[in-house]
C-alpha cells in the first residue's frame, strides 16, 4: 500500500451564525415549539401557566412518562415496539406495594416504616421490571415473535397480573421513606438544589471543554471559541434558571408547620422555604445522562443504532442482535420499574389503574421527540422534550378549561402532525 499522509482537513467555508454554533436544528425546533406552547398558554390563562407552581407540577407529572420514553427510544431505534410499558409499570408498582405493606412488615416482621423497607422495595421493583422486560426481549429476539405481538400480549397479561396480585384493591399508604421518590413528598430544598445546579453546570461546561480538547488533539475542525462559550453560557443559564424556578415555589405554610411539628419544633414566625428540586426529577436527570452516554459513548449504544440502521449489517459485523434485543427490552423493563417507583410514590399508594394509557404516552413522547419508527434514529433528549410537550399540552388545556374529549383530540392530532413535520424535515435534509 502506498504511504500517503492522512486526510487533509479542508478549510471550513464561512457560515452563518447558527451554523457556526453547530446547534442541532431539530432540538432548536422542538424547544421553539415548546416555548410557543408555553407562552401561548400563559397568555390565555392570564399568566397562570408559567408560574413556579405550575412549572413545578408539570415537571413532576412528566417524570414517570419521560423515564420510560428514554428506554422506548432504544426499543424503537432497534425497529421494535413495546406496548406493555404501562401494564409493566402497574405490575412493578403492585409488587412493590405488596412488598412494603405486607411482605416486609408482616411476613418478615420488620413492622411499618422500617429503615430498610424502601431499599428492599426499590430493588424488588427494579428486578421485577428487568426480568419481565428481559423475558419479553427473549421472546422477541430468540423466539422471533414480533415485538408488537409479544408486548400486546404483555399489555393484557401484566395489567391483569397487577390486578390479580392486589385483588384490585388500592394499596396504601406506602412506606414513608419510599414516598420521597414522588414529587412534593421529597424535594432537596433550596440550598441543595443550588448545589446540584452548580455541580451540573460545572460538569456540563467540563464535558463541552473535554470534547473540544479531544477534537483539537486529533486536529479535527472545531467551532470558534466564542461559539463554544455561547453554548456553555446557555447551558449554565438553563440549568440555574430551572433551579431558580423550582426554588421559587414555596411550600405552603400549613405544610411547613406540620413538618416542624413532626420534628418536635415550632415554626418561627414568617418562616418560608421553597421546594427546590424534586428527587424524582433528579432521578430523571440521572436517567437522561446515563441513557445519553449509553446511546452515544458505549458499544451497546453503537450496536443499538447500527442494528436499527441495518440489522443484517449489524449481524454480519459480529453483533449478537438477539442478545442485544434482550438487553434493550430488559433496560426498558428496568426503566418501567423505576417509573413505577416514582409514580406510586407520587400518588402515595398503588391503585389498580396506575399507568393506564402510559404506553401510548411513552410511544408518543419518543416519536414526537424525533424517534423514527423505521428504526435507526432517535435521541434521549428528544424523547424527554416530547414527554414535556405532551404533558404541557394536556395540563395547559385542562387549565384553560378545554373539554376532556377535545383535549384528547388535540393531543392525537399533534402527535400525527409532529411526525409529519419530522418526515418533511428529514426529506429536506436528504436523509432517508
Amino acid at each position: 500500500m502506498t504511504e500517503t499522509a492522512s486526510q487533509p482537513i479542508p478549510e471550513q467555508p464561512k457560515r452563518n451564525l447558527f451554523q457556526q454554533l453547530e446547534l442541532d436544528m431539530r432540538l432548536l425546533g422542538m424547544i421553539g415549539a415548546f416555548a410557543i406552547l408555553c407562552i401561548g398558554f400563559n397568555i390565555v390563562t392570564d399568566g397562570r401557566f408559567l408560574t413556579s407552581r405550575n412549572i413545578f407540577n408539570l415537571t413532576i407529572q412528566t417524570v414517570s412518562v419521560a423515564i420510560m420514553a428514554t428506554g422506548m427510544v432504544f426499543v424503537i431505534v432497534t425497529r421494535n415496539i413495546d406496548l406493555s410499558v404501562g401494564a409493566l409499570l402497574a405490575t412493578c408498582s403492585a409488587v412493590m406495594a405488596m412488598t412494603q405493606t405486607e411482605f416486609l412488615p408482616d411476613v418478615l416482621g420488620l413492622g411499618l416504616n422500617h429503615p430498610a423497607t424502601w431499599a428492599v422495595t426499590v430493588v424488588v421493583g427494579l428486578a421485577c421490571g428487568t426480568l419481565i422486560g428481559a423475558f419479553q426481549g427473549w421472546m422477541v429476539g430468540y423466539l422471533t415473535i414480533p415485538a408488537f405481538i409479544v408486548t400486546l400480549g404483555g399489555f393484557l397479561v401484566w395489567r391483569n397480573v397487577a390486578w390479580y396480585l392486589t385483588s384490585g384493591q388500592t394499596i396504601g399508604p406506602l412506606d414513608s421513606t419510599f414516598m420521597i421518590f414522588g414529587g412534593t413528598n421529597g424535594t432537596l430544598g433550596t440550598f441543595w438544589s443550588w448545589v446540584v445546579g452548580l455541580v451540573a453546570a460545572v460538569l456540563g461546561v467540563m464535558a463541552l471543554f473535554s470534547s473540544r480538547r479531544a477534537k483539537v488533539r486529533h486536529g479535527f475542525p472545531v467551532k470558534p471559541a466564542w461559539a463554544e462559550a455561547v453554548i456553555a453560557a446557555i447551558i449554565c443559564a438553563a440549568i440555574l434558571g430551572f433551579i431558580a424556578v423550582l426554588n421559587a415555589y414555596e411550600i405552603p405554610t400549613r405544610r411547613l408547620e406540620r413538618m416542624f411539628e413532626l420534628r418536635g419544633e415550632v415554626m418561627p414566625e414568617g418562616y418560608t422555604s421553597g421546594y427546590g428540586l424534586p428527587i424524582s426529577v433528579l432521578i430523571l436527570i440521572a436517567v437522561a445522562v446515563v441513557m445519553t452516554i449509553i446511546a452515544r459513548r458505549t458499544r451497546l449504544g453503537r450496536y443499538i443504532f447500527a442494528t436499527g440502521g441495518n440489522p443484517d449489517a449489524a449481524e454480519l459485523s459480529g453483533i449478537n442482535t438477539r442478545w442485544l434485543t434482550v438487553k434493550v427490552f430488559a433496560l426498558m423493563g428496568f426503566l418501567c420499574g423505576l417509573s413505577a417507583v416514582v409514580a406510586s410514590a407520587r400518588l402515595a399508594n398503588h391503585s389498580n389503574d396506575i399507568g393506564t394509557l402510559d404506553e401510548l404516552r411513552v410511544i408518543a413522547a419518543a416519536v414526537i421527540g424525533g424517534t423514527a419508527l423505521s428504526g435507526g434514529f432517535g435521541t434521549i433528549y428528544g424523547a424527554i422534550l416530547g414527554a414535556l410537550i405532551m404533558q404541557s399540552l394536556q395540563s395547559g388545556m385542562a387549565m384553560v378549561g378545554v373539554d376532556a374529549p377535545l383535549q384528547n383530540i388535540v393531543v392525537g392530532t399533534v402527535l400525527v402532525l409532529a411526525v409529519y413535520i419530522d418526515i418533511v424535515y428529514r426529506k429536506r435534509l436528504g436523509a432517508k
Binding site: R297, T298, R299, A306, N310, L316, G318
Partner: protein, 260 residues
C-alpha cells in the same frame, strides 16, 4: 516470498481449505459437496451463474450461514465457524455485495462496527477512531471527505471504499470479495484492481466472486466454477481462455487440457 503457484507445487499447507461443503435450504441443495482451497498471496475467482451457489459457499466461510456437512481448515487446522464473530477471529474478512453498512452511522462508526476502540473507562473513543479512519481512507481513497455524515449520504464508490477499508484495516489474512466492482464506475474499478494487487503482494489470500469472466482472467490466479450447487472444476488461469471459462459456466464442462 514464494508465489502461490510455487507453494502449491511444493505441496505447502493452504491458507484455507473448504472440504466437501454441503448446505441445503428446504430441500434445495444450494452447495453440494464442494471443495475449494486458497494459498497465501493468491486470488481465487469463484464463477457461476446467479444461484450457482458461489455466494452461499462463501457465506459459510464468513460465518453468515452454517454448513450442513464438510469441514473448514485454516493453516491446516480444523476450525469451527458458526457466526461472523468466529470468522473475524480467524482474520477472515468479507466485503459483501450489499456492502453491509449501517446507513444511519458515519464512515468511522461503520469501519469499526463490532470492534470499537474504547477509552480506559470502556467508552467508545470516537476521536481516536476518526483519526484512524482518516488515515486508512487517505490511503484507499484520498478524495474521501465525508467523515461525519451518515453513509447514506455517500456515493456508491465512497460506500464501497468504506466497506473495503473495514475489511483491510483489521489485518485480514483471508479476504472474501463478493462482486466488489458491481456498483462502481471504470475509475473506481481500476482502484479495486490495484488494491487487489497490493493485498496479494502482502500475502493475503483472496476469494473473488464475480460474474465477469474478463475481470477474473485479469485479477485471479485460479478460478473455481460452480453450476447448480456443484463444483464444475478449478483451473489455473494461465491454462485457460475466456471461452474455456464461459463453457465451464454455461455448459458445466471442464476443458480437458486444463488440470489444476
Amino acid at each position: 516470498m514464494k508465489s502461490a503457484k510455487q507453494l502449491r507445487a511444493e505441496g505447502a499447507t493452504p491458507l484455507v481449505e473448504m472440504k466437501d461443503i454441503s448446505i441445503a435450504f428446504g430441500g434445495v441443495k444450494a452447495v453440494d459437496h464442494v471443495s475449494v482451497d486458497l494459498y497465501p498471496g493468491e486470488v481465487v475467482g469463484l464463477l457461476g451463474h446467479n444461484g450457482a451457489g458461489k455466494s452461499t459457499l462463501i457465506k459459510v466461510l464468513s460465518g453468515a450461514y452454517k454448513m450442513d456437512s464438510g469441514e473448514i481448515r485454516v493453516d491446516g487446522e480444523k476450525v469451527e465457524i458458526t457466526n461472523p464473530r468466529d470468522a473475524r477471529a480467524l482474520n477472515i474478512e468479507t466485503i459483501y455485495q450489499t456492502l453491509a453498512l449501517a446507513d444511519n452511522l458515519d464512515a468511522t462508526s461503520n469501519l469499526f462496527l463490532g470492534r470499537e476502540m474504547v477509552t480506559p473507562f470502556g467508552l467508545v473513543n470516537d476521536a481516536a477512531m476518526e483519526a484512524e479512519c482518516r488515515k486508512i481512507m487517505g490511503k484507499l481513497n484520498p478524495n474521501f471527505r465525508k467523515f461525519n455524515e451518515p453513509v447514506s449520504a455517500l456515493s456508491g464508490g465512497q460506500r464501497q471504499s468504506v466497506a473495503i477499508a473495514r475489511a483491510v484495516y483489521f489485518n485480514a489474512r483471508i479476504l472474501i470479495m463478493d462482486e466488489p466492482t458491481a456498483a462502481l464506475g471504470p475509475h473506481e474499478t481500476q482502484m479495486v484492481a490495484e488494491l487487489i494487487q497490493q493485498l496479494k503482494a502482502q500475502g493475503i489470500g483472496i476469494f473473488l466472486i464475480d460474474h465477469d469472466v474478463h475481470a477474473v482472467m485479469k485479477l485471479c490466479d485460479r478460478a473455481s466454477v460452480m453450476k447448480n450447487g456443484q463444483l464444475v472444476g478449478t483451473v489455473d488461469i494461465e491454462d485457460v481462455t475466456d471461452d474455456d471459462l464461459l463453457s465451464m459456466i454455461i455448459l458445466g464442462k471442464k476443458p480437458e487440457h486444463a488440470t489444476a
